[in-house]
Amino acid sequence: MPDALERYDVLRTAADAEYAAWRNPERPRIDVALDQSSITNGALKTRDALERIARERNAVVDFGRVHGYGMQWVHPTVQITFPDGATVLYGPVREADAAAIIDEATGRWGAAAALRLGTITGERPGVPSIREHPFFALEPERRLLKNIGLTDPESLNHYIAQGGYRASARIFGRHLSEEIVRNTLNDAGLTGRGGANFPAGTKWGFLFGAPGTEHYLVCNADEGDPGAWVNRVVMEGDPHLLLEGMLIGAYGTKSTAGFIYLRDEYPLSIARMEAAIRDAEQAGLLGDDILGTGMSFHLRVIRGAGAYVCGDETGLLASISDERGMPRVKPPFPAARGALNKPSNVNNVETFANVPLIATHGSEWYREMGTKAQSGTKIFSFSGDIVRTGFMEVPFGVSLAKVLEACGGIEGGRALHAIQPGGPLGSLVPASALDKLILEPASFLPYDAMLGGGGIVFGSDRNNVLVLAEMFAEFVEEESCGRCTTCHGGNQRKTEIIRRVMEGDGRRDDEPNLMLIDKTIQFSNCAHGQLSPKSMRNVLQHFHAEYEAAMRGEDATLSLKGATRFRVAQPRDPRVEEAVAICPVAAFRGTPGARTIDEATCIHCQACTDVAPGAVVREAKPRAPRMVPIG
C-alpha cells in the first residue's frame, strides 16, 4: 500500500504537467481577474467583450482566470500570458479596451501599451516589473499571497503544483507528533490574526487535550469589520491555502470535522470555498481516509446572515449550533464547549493560511519577516480618502507613513486627518501619530488603540472625526446582541449624545456622560461590548479640540450639520435650477433668479452642491457664541 507521500507525488506529477502547460501556454492566454472587487468593477462585462471579439476575429487566444493582484483602484484588470511564460498585467480594462487587449495578445504588441501596469513574471521590453510599482514598495516578498496572479484560484492542481498539500501529506504520512506541529507554530510566533493575537499553537493544544473524540475545528471567516477584506482575498485568491491550514489544524487538535463560518456578504468566497472542499475531497486530500492514512476530516461552509457579533467566537459557535448568534460568558471556553456543544477551536482565516507556509518552510524562515515582538507577514487592506485602494502583504513593523505613501497619499490634495485601524471595535488615531506608528500591535497601544484584523482606513480633513465616530457608534449599537444592558443601552445613549453634538446641541455634561458610559460598557460580557466605547474615547483623547469646537457649533471641516448651512451664493447661475430640481426635500424657496434655502427643511444631503458647486455652497453657520447648556 502506497504511503501518503507517494500518493501525494502521483497527484503532484499530474498537477505539475497541467500547471506547466498553463504557465507556458501554446497560445497566448488572457486571464481576467475575477474576485469580488474585480466583478464589482465590471470584470464580467470585460470578459464577455474579450471573448466576443476573440470569436469575431477567430483570434488564436485562450481565456482563463486569476485573482486580482492587489491594485483595486485599477480594476478590472487582465493578464496576458505569452507562450514564453511572460505575464503582463493590464488595467483598468473596460469593454471598450477589449479589442486592444486581443490585439496585444495576438501579435500586435503595443496595441494595449497604455493599459500596461507591469510584468508579473518574465520580461517584456519596456515593461517594468510590477514589483517596481510604488504600491508594492513595502512587499519584500509575497508569502500568503504568493499564488495570487500566478494560479487559477479555482484550480486544485495549480495549488498542488506550487507545492500545496505537501506539508499536510508529510505530517499525515509520517505521523509527526501533534505537539511538534503545534510547537512549530509557537516557535514561528504565529498568533491569532483576527486581532486577539493569542498564540495559535497554544490554542490548538487546548482542543487537543479536550476529552472525547468529537472535536470541531472552526474557521472564523465572518470578516465583519468594515474596511477589512483580508480574509476575502485568501478565500477568493487561494482557497486551498485555508483548507490545508485547517487540515493541519485538524491534525494538531485531533478534530475530525470542521466548519468555515463565512459571512454572506462574500458570495464568491462561499462559492470558491465550497468548490475547493469538493475538489479536495475528490482528490482524497479531505474527507475520509485522507491520502490512505485512515484519518478523516470533514469540512462544511456555514453561511452567516448579517450579524457582526458572530465574529466573536462564542457568538459564532452559537450561530453554528442553530441558536441566536449571541456571545456568552467564558468559561466554558470553546475547547470545553463549542460548536454543537462539543469541544471546539476557532481561528481566523489568515491564521490558518499561515500554517501550511510554516509547516513547509519552518519557523526560522517565518521569523525572517516581521519584528521581534511580532513575526511574519500580514495582509492589510487600505481604503478611505487615499489615491490607491487595495491590499498588500507586508512584514509586521513597516512604517504607516510609508504605507500611506505607497497608497499614493491622500486624494484631492487634502491632508490626513484620522487613521482608523481595527474596525468598529478599533480606534481613531490622529494624523500626528502617523510618523510614530508601525504595523505592529504594540505600536498602537500608546494611543489606546488597536491594530486589529488588517483593515486600515485613512480619513482626510474633508470630514470631522465625529463623522466616523458616529458611524461606529451606530454600528456597534445596531450590532449589539442585546444580552448585556451595559452594551445595548450604553451604546444607544452614546450614539444619541454624539448625534446631538454633531447637530450643534452639545451639553457640558455630555463629555462626563460619555466617559461614564465608556466605563460602564466595559463591564459587558464579550469583546463587542468591552471594546465598543473605544472609538469615542479616542475622540476625547486625541481630538479633544475638535470635539470642543463642535460643542461651540464650530467645525473647520464643514461636515457637521450643526455647524454648517447650505446657501445659494450665485442666485443667477442657471445651475441653481438644477439644484432646485434635485433637492429631495424641496428646501428651496423663492423664484428662479432669487432662490434661497430653507434651513429648517434642508437635510444636508449635498445633492445641490453636487449639481451646482459654487452656485450653492456649504458654509459655516453664522451664529452668536453659544452658551453650552449644562444638563
Binding site: Q36, S37, T40, N41, Q72, H75, G224, P226, G227, A228, W229, R232, F259, R263, D264, E265, Y266, R300, I302, R303, G304, A305, G306, A307, Y308, S319, I320, S321, D322, E323, G325, M326, L340, S381, S383, G384, D385, T389, G390, V457, G459, S460, R462, N463, L468, M471, E474, E478, C481, I582, P584, V585, I603, H604, C605, Q606, A607, C608, D610, V611
Partner: protein, 177 residues
C-alpha cells in the same frame, strides 16, 4: 399537527435535506428565503419540525440576523453600504437623500407600493468605488453594484426606480454626470 397545505409541502421538500443538531438552521432559512422571498410563519414551523426545534426558536434565531425577512421584499432593494470609505465620501448624505426620495424614514423600509426598499448593506471591500449601493432585484436574484455615487446621482437613481424604471435605466440615471 397543522394541516398539510400545498405551500407547506413545498417548504417541506425544500428543507428535507437538513438534519437536527447538525448546524443546519442557517442553511435551511437561507434556502427557504431564497425560494420564497421571506420566512413565513408556516415556513418557520416547517423548519422547526424538520430540525426538531420549537418554531419560537427558529423565529428567535431568524430575527437575530439582519438578512432574514418576515414579509415579502420590495421588487428592488437599494442596499446602502454603511462602510467607512463610503461614509467619508458622503455616505450619510446619500442615505438621507435616498430615504427622502422614497418617502420613508429609516432603514429598512419599503415604499408603500412595495416597488422599492432601502436596506442596510455592509462593507465587502470594494471601497475603490465608494460611495456605493447595490441594487437587488427580487424576482431574478440579480445584484448590481452601483459605485462612485454622490447624493445627486443617488436621488436620480432612486426617483427612476420609484417611478417604475428598470434596474438598467435606473443605473444609467446614476451614471449620468
Amino acid at each position: 399537527m397543522p394541516l398539510e397545505t400545498e405551500a407547506r409541502a413545498q417548504i417541506r421538500a425544500l428543507v428535507a435535506e437538513f438534519r437536527p443538531e447538525h448546524g443546519d438552521l442557517l442553511a435551511a432559512m437561507h434556502k427557504v428565503q431564497h425560494h420564497l422571498g421571506y420566512l413565513s410563519r408556516e415556513a418557520m414551523e416547517v423548519i422547526a419540525d424538520q430540525l426538531n426545534l420549537f418554531a419560537a426558536e427558529v423565529y428567535g434565531a431568524a430575527s437575530f440576523y439582519e438578512e432574514f425577512r418576515f414579509a415579502p421584499p420590495a421588487q428592488t432593494n437599494i442596499r446602502w453600504c454603511s462602510g467607512p470609505a463610503c461614509r467619508l465620501k458622503n455616505g450619510g448624505g446619500i442615505r438621507d437623500a435616498l430615504l427622502a426620495t422614497l418617502g420613508v424614514s429609516e432603514i429598512p423600509a419599503d415604499t408603500e407600493d412595495g416597488r422599492v426598499g432601502v436596506i442596510l448593506g455592509q462593507c465587502n471591500g470594494t471601497c475603490e468605488i465608494a460611495p456605493m449601493v447595490w441594487l437587488e432585484q427580487h424576482s431574478t436574484h440579480r445584484i448590481e453594484p452601483v459605485g462612485s455615487l454622490n447624493a445627486a446621482r443617488a436621488i436620480r437613481m432612486a426617483r427612476a426606480l420609484r417611478d417604475g424604471s428598470t434596474v438598467e435605466a435606473s443605473i444609467e440615471e446614476a451614471r449620468r454626470a
